[in-house]
Symmetry: C2
Subunit: 816 residues, 2 copies
């Protein structure tokens, strides 16, 4: 007998007085035995081996008509007929309201360590109401209409996401231009021209500090005080959402507003971050908002798109929105589609991908029209959008460069892994030592000041003057340089990070000193590492690309310095490879990254090969040390996200070793009061529905369906009882349940059931009659595949007689 | 009671003498009641409603120790204890060998109309043997090693596919060059120069005929007599394979050889077809061959990669092979990956896609190296591969052109749908009136002659002379033209179709007369329609693109003729859009097509938008009329391929209305003789394994697993009986079963079980203990999603007591 069985025996031996509901901090059913994961698991399924113990305990249970809490479910007992039913009045009168819920031994570990994340219902609940609706709408016309509406929504998502992206883009550009032009003038006024040795940099420095601190403080305050979920890039959150984890407030309009303002202020403030991640988040919010036809923030229901009001449909739209966001951020429609696929989708549905691609294309197209109009290009010619600047001459490479690209990739992997690790440490430190809100705002201000100071120091101490003419910036600062020269260091700093990436890709050879770039790389590496994790809305893509581009270009310059005859050492090319390698090392999204880089710089597919070489090396090296930054963030936050493959420690296990039991079940026709108290006492979200129950031994019944907490609450709220069926039956439909989506009422909203204490609920028309079921001996990799492919929330483990043996939720695949 | 129940009652009422096995022509279990699909289906599941009839019939069944065939399973009867077991000697001696199998009423319709396709086992059978192997290999090191080997195989697939593609490419190019150069000289010799009115074209015509007939006849004969499966493009077959349908001999080396020779001869012979489709098929064969480490054609087992010998692993490799094939054919790595996804994959597995992409890139890279070396480019610079010629100046478009692109798309959709419909009609005619092999070869010859004749007539009658200098062909025929001029009509015909597409894309404006192109379009449209479906190896991509490019260019020329000031009417651009529209209309693969066209012509992502506009219009218009040509071919051949969504007529149905029953079951410990006779008598491929069986009423047992026909045959062949367990148990492993993969022995290879007549087989270690099970009331769209997402072969329908109610295979989702 292994640990497991001992525990089960403990349960079975517990007296009735100790039986209590099993409430858990985590709201998915997740109590789990503490077990030896390495133990040999070839034994027969538990049910039969326990059968001899059953009759002895079952005698303690009783049929009670009042508000008894669910008994501790005895795990997978076989049918036992002729159970003696001893009515026990003492128990029935026990005051449940006052009895403190007794935490079950096994649930405590999991509950304590993990925060409160719920799952989304990506599984469509095909109950009788749903099927009725389906039948009513079985006509060809309706399903066509629904399909057309879906297309319209996707097109709207593309357009609106692009418009938001444009707005952010233009505001950032205008404000940055104002800021740097002012600083430029300030420098010109305060530093005497043609005097390359001295000058008063203090006044520009103070101005610079001011223009950094003000927006950053404003943005950080908004994020911290109004909507903390908007901190960071938003990609981990969207990824978790698409994976099936409910992240509260992630797709609200308020979130979008704060995010937009947050990203504008941070980029304008000069923090080491980009606007790309937030734009993806923005796309997701837009998608969720439009597709639902209502806004909970504005308490406005447009009464449209009602058929799309469930998690499953919403997910598909959010997928499209994310793709549209990527496309708008980079001008990369295929990259956007692939990003959505690589990061999110688990089931490849041709129609969905097709709609996603169209949304992406529409988004890029809209963005291009608006930006063309804004920049005054009125020749009505679509020229594409190259956010990182177009390589005008096709990049070529020699075969002997491939090993060099590989080495760069390995470097990127190492630097990326170090960056991830360092960033995680900084964030842990932050979490621990800066718990106060004001502290978080101040911290952002300090980092912004640090950036400005470092930049000023670099400008002041490095003398890197270049002739005017091939100046990469709008404001070529002459600072300490001769006439007709500009300060190359200032040029790197006097613009947004995105513009600096563009400079590093496209500046002609010899635009920078080696020392400048080397210092810049180090400073920016540290700065970006300190920035990501601040309480501001910022993406990590651009700073990562910037660091990579810097050291890639640096590599080419060093190599050229050593081998001046090597003409292939085009610095822009190596900056691109470096950016790819660094991105690969930090983000580890190989496929979509390569396509995004291709689309955003206009390089041809022939240069795809070097990019992939660099990316694949970076990914493999990085994966050796840790995970990508998004996954790291998800892990640090204990989001129960399902990976692509089951975790290695689950290999060789069977369902019976990870399932949670006992399970709180509800009878097909159960008493309203019982349901009410189950909901009050335990916060599970799914309850197996059973029939063939002997007395109150619900957890030994035969499984006939599963019902969600939210459905039960609606049933109680609307008083959908058997006894008053004639009142509600005619007007009750699936819409009754959709109306409360997505903010389900809580059980606290249901008032005490005084007069209806003896009413009965018949779940047969509300429950999902087709829950996915597996056997206790099924292997975990197999059930994981089922769970992932079907997007399940609850997986019932049943024995050979269709009686419940346990329940598996996403949490069971993640925490041992 | 609906039709269904009447039928069930009929079964139940049938006397024991009428009970017989239910053999079916189609080897997946597929008998189905003839039922009213429109009937209202809200009633309770059948099991309970039948319960009263059970005891009366069950009394007729008996426990017989000899070779009794499986009884007609009574659909979903509840447990009935105390069944009287009446031994019936008369029955037990019945000679089953001689009794003709009686076809069951319900199975006949489906059996008669559909040919014999089996499913592949994409579901991994996790039986005890498999789990033992998993446990032995649970070490980190092994799973790493398996992963590394997988990568190595994928890289090999990329390289070898590219090498084969190169070989085919170079041979076609060389032979075509020889052929057209000879014809060119022949024309030059026989038609007096500078005499633009007359000349003797008869001799060149005869030569041309000869050089067309010889290769075409040879190729057609090879295809017809040696390996008929190689006819056509191979894409429908690969697509079916990846979908889970076993197409015999599709991935053999012999098939590859015939296909390669077939495609060379047909293209050199001048048929209207391309080499792209066959290359994709070639990639699939290479993948299947390499990954298995053995060749059944050469009876050679390299004893490597044994862990990959099952349908599931092989499918993943074939997916990569197909992608590598597309990439090699077009020089389009992303397009190749997307093609595989769009056409094939149902579960998006990140790692798989990643490997597929790498195989595609390796393939393109190898191809480029070899072709660069062949063409004598020794500068070691990777320039990419643009099979349809690179557009050197970036294509631009004005916004007002978008409606024009849309109109072109609609035209493409109409023309494509018409093409598909016409081609299907021609092929039906062919199938009906040309059944003889020699007739098929002759037909190919006739079509080849027709092509040559039409080309000659066009050249003879149309006087389209253009000045030399911008000549698009290697052999500018002066034929009937002035000095310094060449015949533009001859130029179109005197090269391979691929080269002609290139000409139409890149020839400068004014290279052709309107009349020439109009006639050429019509002729090629008809020719390609007549060609696709001949018994030759040829793809449909290039001729379709050619027709589209021709009418697209024609459109631009006509429009320019009408509006000479419209400078945007670049004929190459419109040829490209026309090609996209026509391809969209015929093939309907929108996403991958657009990317392939982008990659193969080097256009930028900014031109993606017009391409998508044209493709989407073409697809939607085409879909209104019929399906894409590949899907049409699959349908015409009655291949049971699963679509992305369930067919519309299945909406609103439940599992009980499509399941096949009665089901032939086998007991967990069953008699060897019984199994032998079941296999002899019925050709099902999956048998539910049941226990808790009363007497011989197997179909009323409790489901505990499923076993495949192939596994049962191996058990019988290797005599894996309980009685001699000590002999075989030590050396029996999952490898015993893998060794016979993929050509499983037939039951005929098992000799009569004389001495072992009373031996017992214990299936518990061989069967798949975790078959996916659904309820009879589950909706078809739901179970379809499960079936598709998990790549199932058999889906068991069980009642509330875990007893079998029926079985669902892919066929049940396709044929009513």
């Amino acid at each position: 007998m292994d640990d497991r069985k001992v525990l089960i025996s403990l349960d079975d031996g517990s007296s009735d007085d100790d039986d209590a509901i099993v409430p858990q901090k985590d709201t998915v059913q997740s109590s789990k035995p503490i077990q030896d994961f390495g133990s040999n698991l070839t034994e027969e399924p538990t049910p039969t081996s326990l059968s001899t113990e059953a009759p002895g305990i079952s005698g303690n249970h009783q049929e009670i008509d009042t508000d008894q809490p669910p008994l501790l479910g005895h795990n997978a007992l076989p049918i036992v007929t002729n159970i003696p039913i001893n009515g026990n009045a003492g128990h029935s009168n026990r005051d449940i309201e006052n009895s403190e819920p007794i935490f079950h031994l096994r649930s405590r570990t999991a509950a304590a360590s993990t925060p409160n994340y719920e799952s989304l219902d990506y599984e469509v609940c095909e109950n009788t109401l749903f099927q009725e609706e389906q039948r009513q709408r079985l006509t060809e016309r309706f399903s066509l209409r629904k399909d057309v509406i879906r297309w319209i929504i996707f097109i709207q998502i593309g357009i609106i996401t692009a418009l938001i992206a444009c707005t952010i883009d233009i505001i950032i550009e205008e404000l940055s231009e104002l800021k740097y032009a002012f600083l430029y003038r300030s420098v010109q006024q305060n530093v005497p021209l043609s005097d390359s040795s001295s000058g008063d940099l203090v006044i520009p420095y103070l101005y610079w500090l001011l223009f950094s601190i003000l927006p950053v403080a404003f943005g950080a305050a908004m994020v911290t005080y109004i909507e903390p979920i908007t901190a960071g890039s938003g990609i981990p959150q969207v990824k978790s959402y698409l994976n099936g984890v409910k992240i509260p407030r992630i797709v609200r309009i308020k979130t979008l507003a704060v995010k937009a303002i947050g990203v504008i202020t941070s980029v304008v403030g000069g923090l080491a971050g980009g606007k790309e991640g937030p734009m993806i988040h923005a796309g997701a919010v837009v998608a969720a908002g439009i597709s639902q036809g209502k806004s909970t923030t504005f308490v406005k229901d447009f009464r449209i798109f009602k058929a799309f009001r469930d998690d499953h449909e919403k997910r598909d739209f959010v997928l499209g929105g994310g793709a549209a966001g990527v496309s708008a951020a980079f001008g990369a429609p295929i990259g956007g589609m692939l990003f959505s696929l690589e990061e999110a989708a688990s089931f490849w549905n041709q129609n969905l991908i097709w709609r996603t691609l169209v949304a992406s294309i529409i988004s890029v197209f809209t963005l291009n029209i608006v930006l063309s109009a804004y920049h005054g290009l009125n020749d009505f010619t679509f020229t594409g959008l190259f956010n990182l600047g177009k390589f005008d001459t096709p990049l070529k490479f020699d075969y002997f460069e491939l090993p060099i690209f590989m080495i760069l990739g390995v470097t990127g992997g190492l630097l990326g892994a170090a960056w991830n690790s360092l960033n995680t440490k900084i964030n842990k430190f932050r979490k621990r030592f800066i718990p106060w809100k004001i502290g978080k705002v101040l911290e952002a201000v300090v980092v912004a000041m640090m950036g400005v100071t470092l930049a000023c120091l670099m400008i002041y101490f490095i003398n890197d003057c270049r002739p005017l003419g091939n100046d990469p910036t709008n404001n070529p600062v002459q600072l300490f340089c001769e006439d007709n020269e500009y300060n190359a260091v200032a040029a790197l700093w006097f613009q947004t990070p995105e513009a600096t990436v563009r400079s590093l890709f496209h500046d002609p050879p010899g635009s920078h000193k080696i020392l400048t770039l080397a210092l810049f790389t180090v400073v920016y590496y540290v700065l970006s590492c300190a920035t990501f994790g601040l309480n501001v809305s910022l993406g990590v893509f651009i700073p990562t690309a910037l660091v990579g581009a810097a050291w890639g270009r640096l590599f080419a310059m060093l190599a050229f310095y050593l081998f001046p005859e090597a003409e292939f050492l085009h610095p822009g090319k190596y900056a691109l490879i470096g950016a790819a390698a660094n991105l690969g090392g930090v983000l580890r999204m190989t496929i979509s990254l390569s396509v995004i880089l291709m689309e955003t710089t206009g390089i041809e597919s022939s240069f795809f090969f070097p990019l992939i070489i660099a990316l694949i090396s970076a990914k493999w090296v990085g994966d050796y040390f840790n995970e990508g930054i998004y996954d790291t963030q998800i892990q640090v936050n204990h989001v129960p996200m399902l990976t692509w493959e089951p975790l290695p420690q689950y290999k060789g296990l069977a369902a019976r070793e990870i399932l949670s039991s006992p399970v709180v079940c509800i009878k097909l026709r159960d008493r309203a009061h019982y349901i009410y108290h189950v909901l009050k006492k335990c916060d599970h979200n799914g309850f197996p529905v059973v029939d063939d129950v002997h007395g109150d031994r619900r957890s030994e019944g035969r499984v006939c369906g599963i019902i969600l907490r939210s459905q039960l609450i609606v049933i109680l709220l609307k008083s959908l009882y058997v006894e008053n069926k004639h009142f509600w039956l005619p007007e009750t439909s699936i819409q009754t349940f959709r109306d409360v989506y997505p903010r389900y009422p809580s059980i606290k909203d249901v008032r005490e059931l005084d007069e209806k204490i003896n009413y009965t609920v018949d779940l047969s028309m509300f429950m999902n009659p087709s829950p996915v079921r597996v056997n206790p001996h099924d292997s975990v990799p197999r059930i994981f595949q089922i769970f992932r492919a079907l997007g399940l929330r609850h997986l019932l483990v049943i024995n050979n007689e269709n009686r419940i043996a346990g329940i598996i939720t996403r949490r069971d695949f993640i925490y041992k």
